[in-house]
């Protein structure tokens, strides 16, 4: 909001009364005199009714039209469409009536299964069920979450493919029948089915597979009459076998990695497409150069199973330097609320090759500071040094296998300085609690002593 030219109140913090309140958003849009709404990548960005309501109000929806969202937004319908477009799809069901019917279907497909909201996205409401006896609890949790996040409780089942990579293909389609693919992103590093690290090119995707995934994504988009930016998600097994997962009918959080390697501004292109302009380049003119990695820094404690944290940010230092981009909402003194997603900042590193991108990312993460609340930063710092990551040999189990107890080796000097700071921090906190003057005499003395 600090970067915006104008701000209008759309309601209280609870998403239901504000960011999910379509009529309120449209009313504000009309009052402000704007002619288009970009829905971002959360809340109503994949809501067909919202896209329709925006169009009905005489405004431009920056994204695929309601008709396309309906075709692809309901995940089981998207699976049918992919199959018709000759794209492989994992074994699964149609939307399920109730827990009993779902349980029966799960037995038939065979555990582990994946319970997914038919109307959802972004990993919300998804549950892996490994055993029959866990099924009912998973069903309850997923139903509640799907209702809260999307207002639609319908769930379906899919066979859980383990030891696979989550690879997605970015597409662009103009309103004149032209569809192109821009390249893939490997987003396998996830917790609770939400991504933590994304990169392009995928370290294990060779040219042949890339072309196949691109062609499959374009076939799906053409069949759906797609317009604007979108992402087709696949699960790729180590054999190279791939299955269609779903289409995200919006801009993705991780779009910067594609922007870095293609040099294209995806949001600008979204606006041009929404304004009716044709794409000014062909598939062959899209070039990918170098490698880009994104780390999503979230308000979550990686030492406590990534449980979300909220509170006040006491200190922020964002990294900079060659090839580093930071998309962030952070500032010192901000309060991280518990009502919204835990994403705080995205750190993106670009390099001529993956090696250079990794080196730049390591340095950037080392430079970054966030204090006041726990964040995922320790995980990201560690991940960039994990053998499997360095070798590009990771899959969707990466986070589960990560050992948060593995501590960095401290030199004797670092340990002494750390121990001293730990004592000073504890004392300073105790003093502020009992309202004694800060800057204690011994600290002043210590400083003077050292300068002598």
């Amino acid at each position: 909001m600090r970067a915006a030219d104008a701000a209008y109140r759309i309601g209280p913090a609870a998403p239901r009364e504000s960011y999910l309140n379509a009529s309120r958003i449209i009313e504000v849009a009309k009052r402000s005199g704007c002619d288009a709404i970009h829905p971002g990548y959360g809340f109503l960005s994949e809501n067909a009714d919202f896209a329709q309501a925006v169009a009905d109000a005489g405004l431009i929806f920056v994204g695929p039209p309601a008709k396309v969202q309906r075709l692809l937004g309901e995940k089981t319908a998207a699976r049918r469409l992919a199959r018709a477009a000759d794209v492989p799809v994992a074994a699964g069901t149609e939307p399920l009536r109730d827990a009993a019917a779902a349980r029966a279907a799960a037995k038939e497909i065979g555990y582990p299964v994946l319970l997914k909201p038919a109307g959802g996205g972004g990993g919300k409401g998804m549950r892996v069920v490994a055993r029959d006896e866990d099924f009912d609890a998973a069903w309850r949790g997923a139903t509640g979450e799907a209702t809260a996040a999307f207002g639609a409780p319908a769930l379906y089942l899919e066979r859980q493919i383990t030891k696979a990579r989550h690879v997605e293909m970015q597409i662009l389609a103009d309103g004149h029948g032209k569809v192109v693919w821009l390249g893939e992103r490997d987003c396998s590093i996830q917790r609770r089915h939400q991504k933590l690290i994304e990169e392009s090119p995928g370290p294990s995707v060779e040219d042949g597979l890339r072309a196949k995934l691109g062609a499959a994504a374009v076939r799906i988009a053409e069949r759906a009459g797609y317009v604007n930016a979108g992402t087709v998600e696949f699960l790729v097994e180590w054999t190279g076998k791939f299955n269609f997962l779903e289409v995200n009918t919006r801009l993705q959080v991780e779009h910067p990695v594609t922007e870095m390697v293609t040099g294209l501004d995806l949001v600008a292109l979204q606006l041009r497409i929404a304004g009716g302009e044709p794409l000014r380049f062909t598939q062959d003119e899209i070039t990918r150069r170098g490698a880009a990695i994104e780390c999503r820094i979230t308000a979550e404690d990686p030492f406590a199973g990534f449980v979300p944290a909220s509170g006040r940010v006491a200190l922020v230092r964002e990294p900079a330097g060659p090839g580093i981009r930071v998309d962030s909402a952070l500032f010192s003194g901000m309060t991280v609320p518990s009502e919204y997603d835990s994403l705080l900042a995205k750190v993106i590193a670009y390099g001529r090759d993956r090696e250079e991108a990794m080196a730049r990312m390591r340095r950037a993460l080392e430079e970054m500071r966030i204090a006041g609340i726990p964040t995922s930063l320790p995980f990201h710092r560690a991940a960039l040094f994990e053998q499997d990551f360095i070798a590009g040999r990771y899959d969707t189990d990466f986070v589960a296998r990560w050992d948060p107890k593995k501590a960095p080796e401290l030199s004797d000097g670092a340990a002494a300085a750390g121990a001293l700071a730990a004592v000073l921090a504890t004392r300073s906190r105790g003093e502020r609690r009992t309202l004694q003057p800060s800057d204690p005499a011994w600290a002043r003395a210590g400083r003077e002593d050292a300068l002598r």
Binding site: D341, R369, G372, G418, A443
Partner: protein, 164 residues
């Protein structure tokens, strides 16, 4: 004042003298200590090496030491003395607390119910995720402190169980 400090797996003893000098593991350390952000960040130069230490969180104590994440604990000598002998006064009650602030979406049990370990007691919604909080022990639900639909603070007691 004497302190026992734990940094990850490493134990160190820090003595702060009245004169402003300090020792680490009984070795006198010559350092330049500057508090760069009050109560949050210190710049410490020690025998030609420079370190920046940021307190990420106080409780639990987590430090950022030049871009490395360190879990720390500090016990002063008074607490060390007080701790001896006083450990583990058992009350026989187990509290289920909210691990984060959020909205109490559902309460799955009634007061007086006997629940098995890992039975869902409440569902807490935070950051658009629903989390079922499970009974940490098998026991009787002695008290439920909130009804569903209530916003709760992080650390708030949600239920009290007595072992059965």
């Amino acid at each position: 004042m004497r302190y026992e400090v734990t940094l990850d797996d490493r134990r160190l003893r820090v003595d702060l003298g009245q004169d402003g000098r300090f020792t680490v593991d009984d070795r006198v350390v010559a350092a330049d200590v500057r508090e760069t952000v009050r109560g949050r960040q210190w710049s410490i130069t020690l025998e030609g090496s420079s370190y920046e230490i940021t307190v990420v969180t106080h409780d639990p104590l987590r430090l950022d030491l030049d871009g490395h994440d360190v879990r720390a604990a500090v016990i002063d000598e008074r607490a060390l003395r007080a701790n001896r002998g006083a450990s583990g006064a058992r009350t026989g009650r187990v509290e289920l607390r909210a691990p984060m602030p959020g909205l109490l979406k559902a309460v799955h049990v009634k007061e007086g119910d006997v629940v098995d370990r890992d039975t869902p007691v409440v569902t807490l919604e935070a950051m658009k995720m629903e989390n079922e909080l499970l009974a940490p022990i098998r026991g009787r639900v002695m008290k439920l402190t909130h009804v569903s639909g209530t916003k709760v603070e992080g650390g708030a007691v949600l239920a009290v169980l007595v072992p059965e």
